[in-house]
């Protein structure tokens, strides 16, 4: 490699003769620009949104947040609430989805173009680590990350890298982990961190192992090996002029992004409505009964979690609200992970790029991690019942706990308070 003198230093001069290297340089620049815009105009403001949602759920009267209304107005029908929530959900994820379709196109066209060997190397562990490391950078919910993971799957990420990317982005992203740790008590916040790391590092390789045991998986493995061989034959060192490489890259970027948009967009919208339907069954009057601090509560919360898709970090105010309504800390831990880790949109989207055996493994293992995490939290919480494991001991949380101790269930207390505020009802 040629070197250039800079005073006493000798810096390496990167040779950009190959088309792959040129595309990758432009791809990284485009990624930095798109990622910067996305974080500046969407992700950073979202932290304020989630903080606002937490203020809403801890306020005297719980209002709606991100389209979800726990208090059901008598004049709205079930269908109206379902449609409202689903439409708001789709509005909330539109910018993230647009970013995801662009990133998917960028990955296929510029970062890992045909002839690229960067992603597929490193074995199962290497691909898992790459997926888990890239995930938090993407910072997308489990639905929005589907196009990006599809693109990387086609670029040789394997099942393990693809799932590690999904888990790394949706559960192991820094804003969600830090917000969970700040709001919830160490047991609940810590359980989310541990489950996210386990999910990102262990579910992918386990699903890949399950897939390889089937005929479909063996055929797929052979196809992946053939693809890798083809990439090696094509080589990363094939010289290509800048103009040709960029024309090729931008055309592929446009084709790939538009194709992902039309192929996955309608499915995601439909699955968003399916997920919105499930969340309507959360009934404030029955929260304490069905998701109390017991084994059954953990199973129900984990199952509910994988049946819903939520925007990034939506699970935090949702769990905070359900805790205030009487949910136990163990099911809260299971829901805090499972709601973020996957849902109908994720599973439907990934089923197009993975064998059914792998999908069944992915869904089951996600559920199992949530259940296992919830049970560990249950054992700890039951071992030391004198401590409140739900919230960090802030003034708001302490006030609510005091209100619950004095006035019984919080919801009833709030309703009584509201009636008192309206004053006595006078007859004629």
């Amino acid at each position: 490699m040629e070197r250039l003198d800079r005073g006493s230093f000798r810096l390496p001069a990167f040779t950009l003769s190959s088309g792959v290297a040129k595309k990758r340089l432009v791809g990284l620049t485009l990624m930095a620009v798109i990622l910067g815009l996305f974080f500046a105009f969407n992700r950073f403001p979202k932290l304020d949104t989630v903080q606002g949602d937490l203020d809403v759920v801890s306020g005297a009267v719980v209002e709606c947040f991100q389209g979800f209304c726990i208090e059901r107005a008598p004049d709205t029908s079930f269908v109206a609430r379902w449609v409202d929530f689903s439409v708001t959900y789709l509005q909330l994820v539109t910018v993230g989805m647009t970013f995801a379709f662009l990133m998917a196109g960028l990955a296929e066209a510029f970062l890992f173009p045909p002839g690229s060997r960067l992603w597929s190397g490193g074995g199962v562990l290497g691909r898992t680590l790459k997926g888990a490391a890239l995930g938090p950078l993407m910072n997308l919910c489990s639905a929005c990350i589907v196009p990006v993971s599809s693109a990387l799957r086609r670029s040789g990420a394997g099942i393990e890298g693809t799932i590690a990317l999904v888990q790394g982005s949706s559960t192991m992203n820094i804003p969600a982990l830090s917000m969970s740790a700040l709001i919830f008590a160490p047991l609940l916040g810590g359980s989310r961190v541990v489950m996210s790391v386990v999910g990102a590092l262990a579910i992918g390789p386990a699903v890949a192992w399950i897939a390889r045991r089937g005929h479909e998986g063996a055929a797929e493995e052979a196809s992946e090996a053939a693809q890798e061989l083809q990439n090696m034959v094509m080589g990363e060192d094939l010289a290509q002029p800048w103009g040709e490489a960029m024309r090729e890259g931008f055309r592929e970027f446009a084709r790939s992004s538009v194709t992902y948009f039309f192929r996955l967009g309608p499915i995601m919208a439909a699955a968003g409505f399916a997920s919105g339907l499930v969340i309507q069954f959360i009934d404030p009057d029955r929260v304490g009964t069905f998701v109390g601090n017991d084994f059954g509560g953990v199973l129900i919360a984990a199952t509910l979690g994988i049946l819903i898709n939520v925007p990034l970090m939506f699970e935090i105010p949702l769990v905070a609200l359900l805790l205030l309504l009487g949910m136990g800390v163990a099911p809260a831990a299971a829901l805090l992970f499972a709601a973020a880790a996957g849902g109908p949109v994720t599973f439907w989207g990934l089923s197009r790029i993975m064998p059914m055996r792998a999908m069944a493994g992915f869904i089951s293992l996600t559920w199992l991690v949530a259940v296992a995490g919830g049970l560990v939290v249950l054992v700890v919480a039951l071992s030391v019942p004198s401590l409140d494991w739900g919230f960090r001991p802030t003034d708001d949380a302490a006030e609510y706990r005091a209100a619950e101790r004095t006035d019984g269930p919080l919801w009833q207390a709030l309703e009584e308070q509201a009636l008192e505020d309206q004053g006595p009802v006078t007859g004629e």
Binding site: L90, Q91, T94, V95, M97, T98, F101, L102, G105, R247, E248, F250, R251, F253, A254, R255, S257, V258, F261
Partner: protein
């Protein structure tokens, strides 16, 4: 302007522009897809 204007306009503008780029840029020789077919149809060749 409605609250959801960004959600409607952003993907509309982005993907329409990308679709135009897909059709406008020539494909590699021998490669046929929707973009290249539309390009031939519009260009008359």
């Amino acid at each position: 302007m409605p609250e959801w204007w960004l959600e409607a306009v952003l993907p509309g503008v982005v993907f329409t522009t990308l679709f135009i780029v897909w059709v406008a840029l020539p494909a590699r020789s021998g490669e046929t897809d929707l973009g290249s077919k539309l390009r031939r149809l519009i260009g008359g060749r």
